[in-house]
């Protein structure tokens, strides 16, 4: 489908909108992923990552120049890859480590509300760029809910069984993080 047909102009830095079947399949992938993340099921999530996967959350800043992005290009809150996520994040929740993973036990109750999913073609025929909004809700113990809105910029690669994640960059709206901690996949 041509972007003009849905009334959307071209998005700077992105290719043309992907067709409906691709977009639908990307949405299905992201909803499935959200189910996994809401269950803290890293053992199901890590296999969704391509070997070269990178997860980044840049620092949010308020700038005086509206032409500049409101996220740092050099400073990050989170910078991980498939190996580090598997060995230092996922392993923490396994039975032999969870008892002393004080910040993650009791588990936070989290939900990912993923919306506004749009897929774009890239120069690589087997990869798409995806833009989505995420509202992450987090409840720790008996605390009130904390809600953190963010934009996701994902790169996905086609696999026989659907998609694999190549890169995820999460842009938080809040400049001062209010979550109990940020050791979460948003």
């Amino acid at each position: 489908m041509d972007t003009a047909a849905v009334g959307a102009g071209p998005v700077p830095g992105l290719g043309p909108a992907a067709d409906d079947a691709t977009t639908r399949s990307v949405e299905r992938f992201l909803y499935n992923e959200a189910l996994i993340l809401d269950r803290h099921a890293y053992s199901d999530w890590i296999p969704l990552l391509e070997d070269d996967f990178v997860y980044e959350v840049p620092v949010t800043i308020t700038r005086d120049n509206p032409a500049l992005p409101s996220h740092s290009e050099t400073a990050f809150l989170v910078e991980e890859n498939r190996d580090s996520l598997a060995s230092l994040w996922a392993r923490r929740l396994e039975p032999e480590h969870i008892e002393f993973a004080w910040g993650e036990n009791p588990l936070l109750r989290v939900r990912h509300f993923v919306t506004n999913v749009t897929a774009f073609e890239t120069a690589k025929p087997d990869e798409v760029d995806v833009r989505a909004n995420v509202l992450l809700t987090v409840v720790r113990q008996s605390d009130p809910v904390v809600m953190t809105p963010a934009a996701r910029a994902d790169r996905l690669r086609r696999r026989g069984d659907g998609w694999g994640l190549v890169k995820r960059t999460v842009y938080l709206d809040e400049a001062v993080v209010t979550l109990p901690h940020l050791r979460l996949i948003i």
Binding site: T62, R63, D64, A75, E79, S84, V176, V177, H181, L182
Partner: protein, 434 residues
């Protein structure tokens, strides 16, 4: 009230959680001492500015056209409006959005719209320059301010900490920030963070068992120089550097006397005696600037063992909250790859998503939550650890150096200075009733 007992080893819980004590701290601690405001590299070129809250005051830190670091209240001298609305930027002038008063980045009031119509002939612009703290000074790239006209010179206030800070901050060149700081609202009192970083080696084995079990820290596997290290003989020292500044230095006992600066290129080695074989160095510059340096042995991937340097501020919000502000520092001469590795291990271990902080937050927040009740607040926090530990007189380091890895001697020094300032100028109950 009695804040700290005569032995200096018990601190009233109300000192942390009573909002009235917090209000007094704003005046007696943050109004009196030197406070860290920014790193020079955040305002590297003329016109660069950042805004942030420092000790409860919203300020602009900028480098003026003459190259001087300047600090101003971010509040128009006319009617108090926020002058600068961004966290970071570059400008030669600040213009108020309310009535258009315009200030040079030297702080001078330059433009007043309709000056002759609105104000009388004797209106003197020089009375309305931006408000500056009476003292601004820089040490090894750290910009400090003090609102106290009678504050001692910065170097005098830093006392014996200068020697340790030089080792931490000059690594074959200058350190610079990797970008704007990470910020998080933490539900705890600001002193809890300072107390943890000032020298609490005792909590490592429990709070950070998970990080240690995963091999990120304290191990002999990753670095050749550590292969024959005696892990039962960690060389820990707690240092009182004067005026409430303290640090803890933990070094490996290596098999040879050859200097070994772990995870850091040899050309940048500082203070061999202090830093060789370093496992971790962390401390707190009174009241609320903490610093830490360590070598990460395993960052979870093929990143080689790499050292990092970080500074952080526990900005007071109220008695139950602080804003944690974290700067990743890197040597300005690092290659892109060295910089990437250092920055990466830093944020993976210590920071908002870091393996260590994730577990620390749980303790710090629970301290605020579990001390809301009247009965809970009746007691003290106990800092009796290490009262029997001896001074190490054989060591050539400045300050009072204690032969101890796990001790509460540093916290006692933190609260000694804190209580001294809180009680200076305070009237006794007898004086109040008279």
């Amino acid at each position: 009230m009695r804040r700290v007992d005569a032995a200096g080893a018990r601190v009233s819980r109300e000192a942390f959680w009573d909002q009235r004590q917090f209000d007094l701290e704003m005046e007696r601690i943050f109004g009196r001492v030197w406070l860290f405001a920014a790193h020079e590299s955040e305002v590297a070129t003329p016109g660069d500015y950042i805004t942030r809250r420092v000790g409860g005051e919203d300020v602009i830190v900028t480098r003026d056209e003459a190259g001087e670091c300047r600090v101003f209240l971010n509040s128009c001298p006319h009617r108090g409006t926020q002058l600068c609305r961004a966290d970071i930027g570059n400008t030669s002038h600040f213009r108020c959005s309310y009535h258009g008063w315009t200030f040079a980045n030297s702080g001078r009031l330059r433009g007043v719209p309709e000056r002759n119509e609105v104000f009388a002939a004797d209106f003197d612009k020089s009375n309305f320059n931006l408000v500056e703290p009476p003292h601004v000074d820089v040490f090894e790239g750290l910009i400090f301010i003090s609102w106290n006209p009678d504050a001692p010179p910065l170097r005098e206030e830093l006392a014996d900490l200068t020697w340790y800070l030089e080792a931490f901050l000059s690594k074959g060149g200058s350190l610079e920030v990797a970008g704007p700081p990470a910020r998080m609202l933490v539900r705890t009192n600001w002193k809890i963070g300072a107390d943890n970083f000032c020298g609490d080696g005792y909590h490592l084995a429990t709070t950070h068992k998970s990080a240690i079990d995963m091999g990120t820290y304290l191990g002999t596997h990753a670095v050749p120089q550590l292969r024959d290290a005696d892990m039962s003989q960690m060389r820990g020292r707690c240092v009182l550097a004067g005026n409430g500044h303290t640090l803890r230095v933990q070094r490996y006992t290596l098999a040879t006397d050859e200097p070994a600066f772990l995870g850091f290129p040899e050309e940048g080695w500082p203070q061999i005696d202090l830093m060789s074989g370093l496992s971790v160095l962390h401390g707190n510059l009174f009241p609320n600037l903490s610093f830490i340096e360590s070598c990460v042995l395993d960052a979870g991937d093929d990143t080689p063992p790499t050292a990092y340097q970080q500074i952080r501020v526990w900005e007071p919000v109220d008695s139950m909250h602080c804003e944690l502000v974290v700067w990743t520092l890197v040597p300005d001469w690092f290659t892109d790859e060295q910089r990437m590795h250092s920055q990466r291990v830093n944020i993976r271990m210590i920071g908002l998503a870091g393996l260590f902080d994730t577990d620390d937050f749980q303790n710090w927040v629970s301290l605020a939550d579990m001390n809301r009740g009247r009965m809970a607040r009746t007691g003290d926090f106990v800092y009796e650890g290490g009262v029997h530990h001896a001074r190490d007189h054989d060591i050539a380091w400045p300050g009072a150096v204690y032969h101890a890895d796990h001790s509460e001697v540093n916290q006692r020094e933190l609260y000694r200075r804190w209580a001294e300032l809180m009680e200076t100028g305070e009237r006794s109950p007898e004086e109040v009733s008279a």
